[in-house]
């Protein structure tokens, strides 16, 4: 039992591969059925509002606080490096570009995966283990439409908004540190920023990034909950998987998106 022949190892590898492909297929079918299927119940708008609250509004605090701190730290670090070259005025553009292109979308997605994603997985897993999903099905309501779809949409809508709020708070936090504390001239701080930040190139690309992240993180979170083993250990494992997979997916995708968007610079 302990010694495994080469054949067994290859077989295990093949089995793992099949499992991965099967899970991917299941999650794709799951997504399509949740987004485009029929058979929901109740007012879709009401359900969406409820989830927007649970997913978006309740994530606001952590997003605002982390955004402010990250902007302030960026400003401090940027100042200490840039002042060596006598170009402290570039702090503004550095903070803004870093936040808009990278940290805004990425950190928001990571925080979102930890705060809202894990909660989604646990909630849906719990509904599965207490047979609420089965019960919906027996009442004649498709849980994919009633439970899953509003959560997916709420995630898709919330995260880009959260990312923009994150960037704005970060930039103002950075401005506070640079202008009020470190004494960078306010006019050049903002002017440098406005000169170098391009609306389509930087702001919109950042928003596109966060839309992609929103899609991936919410999808992973909701699917892990729906597909989990309906026991307390199963839910725990699924929650961990959500955070790990979502974070890795965000970081990997961020590299690809950055290469596509800013690669020619």
């Amino acid at each position: 039992m302990r010694k495994k022949g080469l054949q067994d190892r290859v077989r295990l590898l093949g089995r793992a591969g099949i499992d991965v492909v099967a899970a991917l297929g299941r999650s794709a079918i799951f997504l399509v059925r949740a987004l485009f299927g029929r058979g929901g119940a109740g007012s879709a708008w009401q359900l969406l509002v409820k989830q927007l609250y649970a997913i978006g509004v309740l994530s606001l605090a952590i997003i605002v606080v982390s955004g402010a701190f990250i902007g302030m730290v960026l400003s401090l670090q940027g100042y200490s490096i840039l002042s060596k070259y006598g170009s402290e005025e570039a702090v503004g553009q550095m903070v803004a570009l870093t936040l808009l292109r990278e940290l805004g979308p990425v950190v928001t997605a990571l925080l979102f995966a930890g705060r809202a994603g894990s909660a989604l997985t646990a909630e849906i897993g719990n509904m599965k283990s207490t047979e609420q999903l089965s019960s919906l099905e027996m009442i004649g309501v498709d849980p994919l439409k009633y439970v899953i779809a509003p959560r997916l949409w709420a995630g898709f809508i919330s995260m880009p908004l959260l990312a923009m709020i994150f960037s704005v708070v970060g930039i103002w936090g950075g401005a506070m540190v640079a202008v009020d504390w470190l004494g960078v001239y306010e006019g050049s701080f903002w002017a440098g920023m406005q000169r170098s930040v391009d609306f389509t190139g930087d702001v919109l690309n950042g928003v596109v990034k966060s839309i992609v992240f929103a899609f991936v993180v919410t999808w992973i979170a909701v699917f892990q909950g729906y597909d989990c083993e309906p026991t307390s250990e199963g839910i725990g494992r699924a929650t961990t998987r959500t955070v790990v997979y979502a974070s890795l997916a965000v970081l990997g995708l961020d590299f690809i998106l950055t290469a596509l968007m800013f690669g020619d610079f």
Partner: protein, 269 residues
């Protein structure tokens, strides 16, 4: 409704496999209309799977599952939801929607499937809650209820649409004697008062035998026997006897299949 057919639910030669393992191998079960039928068997004998087959949440590998004369595995998704409206299921954990209060839980099937005005929904919900004795709890949330109360609210929800078939999944598990007595009485009462067909899936022998008109005993993927509780009690089949008497060892062995004990201790060489 098909009046000729005296069976509300029929499983014909049903086989269900999960992976390579057959959970059921060619079983036949017929549930008589308007009676309380108990489906019993030891833990792990696939009773919940059987229930899910009847609810068409699982699809058999082979065979037919007829509910009111309609073969579930052959139905489309929307027809299936239609058939399910005639079935109420009481899940083991109650499965109340945790984000809705008691009133909304019971009102949920009504809101989904009917366009009744609000006052009428209110009346029906209060009526159903009155039937299970919990009209006073309308405003509570599910997590404020005890286990037995949850199950009763779930029962009220299951009968909200006046189903023709009511399925109970392990209704007696984890209940104190009073809650158990209440449930036993309710199941019998609802069955007789509403003229519905009840299926009780359970391993609690005494309670199930006390209310069931007819019993099926399943195990090892087979129907071991069926009949009225009386006849099963007097059955000669050793497996049924073991189950009905609750003997620790018998045809269902005490030991999980293993290599010879002496061999395992001394090593195979």
């Amino acid at each position: 409704m098909n009046a000729v057919n005296e069976y509300a639910v029929e499983l014909k030669d049903v086989t269900f496999r999960r992976g390579p393992r057959a959970i059921f191998e060619g079983i036949d079960i017929r549930i008589p209309r308007g009676k309380v039928t108990g489906i019993m068997g030891p833990s792990g004998s696939g009773k919940t799977t059987l229930l899910r087959l009847i609810g068409a949440q699982l699809r058999p590998s082979r065979g037919e599952v007829l509910v009111e004369g309609r073969n579930l595995p052959a139905l489309s998704r929307s027809d299936l939801f239609d058939v399910r409206k005639q079935m109420g299921v009481l899940f083991q954990s109650g499965a109340l929607f945790t984000d809705l209060d008691v009133f909304e839980n019971v009102a949920f099937p009504l809101r989904v499937h009917t366009d009744l005005p609000e006052e009428m929904i209110r009346d029906i919900v209060l009526l159903k809650l009155q039937a299970v004795g919990l009209r006073g709890a309308v405003e509570l949330m599910p997590d404020e209820l005890s286990g037995g109360m949850k199950r009763r609210v779930a029962l009220a929800r299951a009968i909200a649409l006046d189903p023709q078939i009511l399925i109970y999944d392990e209704p007696f598990v984890g209940q104190d004697p009073i809650a158990m007595g209440v449930l036993v009485r309710l199941i019998r009462l609802l069955n007789d008062a509403l003229g519905i067909t009840s299926i009780v899936v359970s391993h609690d022998l005494a309670e199930t035998a006390s209310i069931a008109d007819y019993l099926y005993v399943v195990g090892d993927g087979q129907v071991l026997g069926h009949g009225t509780p009386q006849t099963l009690m007097e059955s000669d089949n050793p497996r049924i006897r073991q189950f009905m008497k609750g003997a620790p060892d018998g045809p269902v062995p005490f030991h999980y299949p293993a290599v010879d004990y002496r061999e395992a201790l001394l090593g195979s060489n």
